[in-house]
Symmetry: C2
Amino acid sequence: MAGLMAIHGIDDSPRGRLLSAAAHLFRDKGFDRTTVRDIAASVGIQSGSIFHHFKTKEDILYAVMEEVIHFNTERLRQAVVAHSTGQEQLRALIRAELQSIVGDTAEAMTVMVTEWRCLSEDKQARALKLRGIYEQLWLDVLTRLHKEGVFTTDPFIMRRLLTGMTGWAPNWFDREGPLSLDDLADIILARVIGEAER
Amino acid sequence: MAGLMAIHGIDDSPRGRLLSAAAHLFRDKGFDRTTVRDIAASVGIQSGSIFHHFKTKEDILYAVMEEVIHFNTERLRQAVVAHSTGQEQLRALIRAELQSIVGDTAEAMTVMVTEWRCLSEDKQARALKLRGIYEQLWLDVLTRLHKEGVFTTDPFIMRRLLTGMTGWAPNWFDREGPLSLDDLADIILARVIGEAER
DNA sequence: GTCTATAAAGTGATAGAC
DNA sequence: GTCTATCACTTTATAGAC
């Protein structure tokens, strides 16, 4: 029910269902411990039939990552253009990334972080180019705030600290708990702009 | 050369060499993609000989984690007792965790984070108890600072943000680069106590 | 586009000699 | 404590019928 549904909508294409199922299994058990039999079984076909849709098991992993990066890069872009001040943009970026990472695309995003090295070097390089676009959106906003004197830490380092904070959230954040994603976004935002309020 | 050498010293016991080699390979290729043949070859023995020292491949993974937790819990404890004020203790904790995670025990620590789910549930539970002691050292210091009004965010959440920031460091921090671990510790510390200086 | 059947290769672990 | 040899099993991927 979660997975890549947000990307494909209610996508009943075999490819869409396979990617959703794969994202779910890869997140639960990891890429290596998930067999093509597992994936096939969870969409109700036989293992051999998988290879009509994807050439290799690794291609499935790459497809999961590619789609989730594209989808979330677009979400990040929307977050930037929806606001005018740097601080508003940064808050929107944090909120959007949290949504990606513990919200509607949580499974695929987690897979991208944790199963990265299961990709061959070629595919890692291709995925890295896509991630570069995503990261540039962050760096543009952070660099602007840095120039405005909102914080003094190097923007590249600040981005890495932010990546750590949001990226670890799936390991503890409880969507049913008392803390909302908006709350968490504000708490993380304060780690950045706290400096400005000294 | 790194690995668990710090723990075992110049430990030439077969077990020590096996654990160091395993930590290195697990970090490089992941637990599942590392074969017992790989581990055996890297210490110069045959694959069957491994099982004289460890009952299963998973036991090797658990031993790596157990040793690195024990070692780094002790390091954390030293960091606390070496200082008297809460802020000094927190800085020492951050510095110690960075040392664990990108310094002398980097390989084993990374393995603990990334290969956690490769442990059976039994062993996960056992390792979790050990990690609980480690985490309590953090929470004691953070709770003290919170009560002193040094920061307002919930100490549990603050610890999780810190875990994310330090835990992500292996993915970008360059020990040969211009930024020292002391510098990074100060930057991370400012994410916590920045609030106090408003 | 899915099925069945199977090839081809690699895996963790064991047994017994030395 | 290490070796050799091998068992029992699982894996990805393919081939061809339907």
